[in-house]
């Protein structure tokens, strides 16, 4: 082995200032979500059917405490996010030309390292999420073998695999191995789907 092995490819990138009020405060989505949960808890607690002759404290006390806790913390967290926004500087990856490996150019930081706002790759995230959703929808009709292979293929692709054809073989192999090991070996119940008659 000589010297250093690079394990992860690095994309060409630039530093961009993106200072929008909301862009730096996307963290508000968490308190918003908590508020929804809190309101759901309140509604559920108030409308709960409590069997008669239930000893006090009944089943509503603890959820009420939790609901109050969730809502108070949602407000506190929202204040915290509003007061302390994330850094206004983001790094933007510039996609390399197609067919060209993108790990040949690394821009070095000069001077002081800046705090950077983490950015999310929405396309990759959506790709992974969509694959999972399609898998759930396809599991019963198509069966484990095909939908499991689809799941592996889709997530690998969303995470940056660039060999779609090889991936098809790999994912079919993996889902077959799982089917054999867990269905035949450990006796787990996996849906056979359209291939039910053949297997």
């Amino acid at each position: 082995m000589s010297g250093v092995i690079r394990t992860v490819s690095v994309t060409r990138r630039a530093v961009v200032v993106a200072d929008g009020f909301w862009r730096r405060r996307t963290g508000l989505i968490v308190p918003a979500l908590m508020l929804v949960i809190g309101i759901g808890l309140v509604v559920g607690t108030v409308t709960m059917d409590v069997p008669a002759n239930t000893a006090s404290p009944g089943p509503q006390v603890f959820p009420a405490i939790v609901a109050a806790l969730v809502i108070v913390l949602a407000v506190l967290l929202a204040i915290d996010v509003l007061r302390k926004p994330e850094a206004d500087v983001v790094e933007v990856a510039q996609p390399a030309a197609p067919g060209q490996p993108d790990d040949d150019l690394v821009l070095d930081d000069e001077g002081e390292p800046q705090p950077l706002r983490p950015t999310s790759n929405h396309r990759a995230l959506l790709g992974a999420l969509l694959t999972v959703v399609v898998f759930i929808a396809a599991l019963t009709p198509l069966g484990w073998l095909l939908s499991g292979a689809l799941l592996f293929w889709g997530v690998a692709r969303a995470l940056g695999s660039r060999r779609p054809l090889f991936d098809i073989l790999l994912s079919l192999a993996i889902s077959s191995i799982v089917q054999l090991a867990f269905s035949a070996g450990l006796g787990l119940n996996l849906p056979p789907g359209v291939l039910g008659g053949i297997l």
């Binding site: 394990t7 409590v50 959820p63 806790l69 913390l73 959703v133």
Partner: protein
Amino acid sequence: MESLANLGDGFATVLTPINMLWVLIGALLGTAVGVLPGLGSAMAVALLLPVTFSLDPIGAFIMFAGVLFGGLFGDSISGILMNTPGNSTAIAGTIEGHKMATSGRAAQALATSAIGAFIGGIVASILVVFFAPRLAELATLFGPAEYLALAVFAFVAISAVVTESVVRGLAALAIGLAISVVGIDGISGASRFTLGVPELFDGIDIVVITVGLLALGEVFSVAARRGSRDETQLLPSTGRLWLSRRELRLAAPAWLRGTAIGIPFGIIPVGGAEVPTFLAYGTEKRLDARRRSPMFGRGAIQGVAGPEAAGNATAGTAMGALLALGLPTSATAAILLAAFRQYGLQPGPLLFERAPDLVWALLASFFVGMVVLLILNLPFAPLWAKLLKVPRHYLYAGITVFAMLGVYATSSKILDLVLVTVIGLIGFLMRRYGLPVAPMLIAIILGPLAETEFRRAMLVSENDPSILVSSGITVTLYAVLVLAVAGAAFQKIRARRRAVRLAAEPARQRDDA
């Protein structure tokens, strides 16, 4: 010496070919997930829970023990060779460990870390063998009010004292508590927040929650980070595998000091081994500063030895607290508690009476597992590092497949797959916006216990809340909790003042330098 006889029986159970195989598989899997950054033993156990359901409990638990300690052995390998700690417990050991690797002493750093993990784990396991039964006897003094105090202690300690942002820690705790109240109320039979869906009557399965939060959440966050800066280099492991007498003289006391620091933290619910590893690092650094030529900053062997021993010592005593008190003190322990419940077992004082063969086999498997792990890690650490070359997209695609397989296999319900996806998204949001996952897991595990004990206590006292602070144990627990919170707040304020002062006088700082 009853403990020793019991432990002997435990060894007799573990040292059969099939159980040795489970130890070995657990150790291999644990080391593998430990080496891979972002994956931890908590997630590995969560993924294994459903697929091991057809095994006998003893086989499953000794495998889980292998996974648990394997994760702690493995997480320093990628830290030392790549400067990317495999887990948060390895961050402290990585600081000096990677410097040792860059100066051509990678093999010594890996050996120091493996031996440190071994010493910490073995000492902690010995203590657990002798003191866990005592602790369990003590726990029989606990009534509903005491258990509630213990749960409240765990909630507050894990979310307020340990995490960086108190609001975020408590927010994660609150979300967890909200999830834990879904389902039929065990005491009154009222259906709570189920929207009339029969699949939700049993509540949301713990496997669904842990797999969603730890596995799928990580997959989504890896997807979202795709293409961002991630420059890591894998250094080849060079240097001698054995330690010179001089190195041993430096490392040996550090191993023992780290072990001593780590042991008490297993019993306090502060969310795992991060705190003791950093305490051990700080101690070694301060001791080193007294030398004529301090070695920290240039790859000090003590900086690896101390934190690694501390991390495994904490994990060892955490298992003791889990077995004897039923109290999970870290995310991994919380999942093991869920595993016990899957098999219809409730850790706590009664476990030693009801399932002694399981408990002692599990404790014996700690020792066997530790030896197996030392053998797997000491000479083969560079080989493990090769795992880091598996393309990340295949790795996480495989994890997704196993996550979905495991969730579907436990219940055969499509709704659980939908839930795991939703919880995976919540896990992604929590990672992205800095909410810790451990408080949420502890809340989900201990939330129902806290509620039941609260209501039981109030029933006994006929709604007189003073019963909650009526015994010496409860008062002590709450007093220690208040002190811990005050101490943490005081430290944070002092750190903030110091930061403000530094920012105010940058010019003077420069003159000093």
